[in-house]
């Protein structure tokens, strides 16, 4: 059976249950589904956040995500991968990103989901602008995220 791959960049929210069904419906070779949802928090380092606005590089963002999904599928025996990244204005409590990985066994699903999230954080061309008490400011990249992504390329 072939692997299901879904990649979407959209303004609208997503429905996790529906996305999981799309990966599992009608097949009995899936033993494990891992989902990661990234959610907009209401504060960062003690400062209140009113909203985030996400900008992306159309064309490149889809290509980068597809490339990482392919890498994940070549490294782990996955039956499916879904990656949905929202753009536009997102308020605290709302979803930002969804990564789903399905496999026969749990280790592959967990590892692939972590790998994909680490790469999305460090390499996918998205940028967050934050609305806070002082107006708006661009969120700064964290070195920590580069380190997290780098651990997958170590020999």
């Amino acid at each position: 059976m072939t692997a299901n791959v879904t990649i979407r960049i959209q303004q609208a929210d997503f429905d996790i249950a529906q996305e999981i069904s799309a990966l599992t419906e009608g097949r009995t070779d899936v033993g494990a589904v891992v989902s990661f949802s990234g959610i907009c928090r209401g504060s960062e380092g003690g400062e209140t956040i009113a909203a985030l606005t996400l900008e992306h590089y159309p064309g490149m963002a889809e290509a980068e995500i597809a490339r990482h999904a392919d890498t994940a599928m070549s490294r782990w025996p996955l039956t499916g991968v879904s990656i949905i990244h929202r753009v536009g204005r997102i308020t605290p409590g709302e979803n930002i990103v969804l990564v789903l990985t399905a496999s026969q066994h749990r280790q592959a699903a967990f590892a692939a989901a972590e790998f994909l999230m680490d790469y999305l954080k460090a390499n996918a061309p998205f940028w967050k602008r934050e609305e806070n008490a002082g107006g708006t400011s661009w969120v700064e990249a964290r070195h920590h995220d580069d380190d997290a992504a780098a651990r997958w390329t170590k020999p």
């Binding site: 980068e64 954080k121 996918a124 998205f126």
Partner: protein, 83 residues
């Protein structure tokens, strides 16, 4: 060639994209940033610290010493903060 700007690079320059014709001596991403920085105050501000700016050629991440010959679309942006 088409040049695109994202996030604060776009905000500082004041435009999202444009078409430029750099002279033959502009061979790499680094050269192109230096050349763009001379187009005016907004560009100088955007490219004031070139080492923090990331670049892509035709939708692929590249380093600052990458050659720009043959590129259709070059993009400049700050480190990414998706996910």
């Amino acid at each position: 060639m088409k040049v695109k700007y994202f996030a604060w690079v776009r905000e500082r320059i004041g435009k999202a994209e444009e078409t430029v014709e750099p002279p033959p001596g502009v061979r790499t991403i680094e050269d192109l940033m230096a050349w763009l920085a001379k187009r005016g105050e907004t560009y100088a501000y955007a490219f004031e610290t070139p080492r923090v700016i990331r670049a892509a050629i035709d939708h692929t991440h590249v380093k600052s010493d990458a050659a720009i010959a043959g590129a259709r679309e070059i993009a400049f942006f700050p480190p990414m903060t998706g996910g």
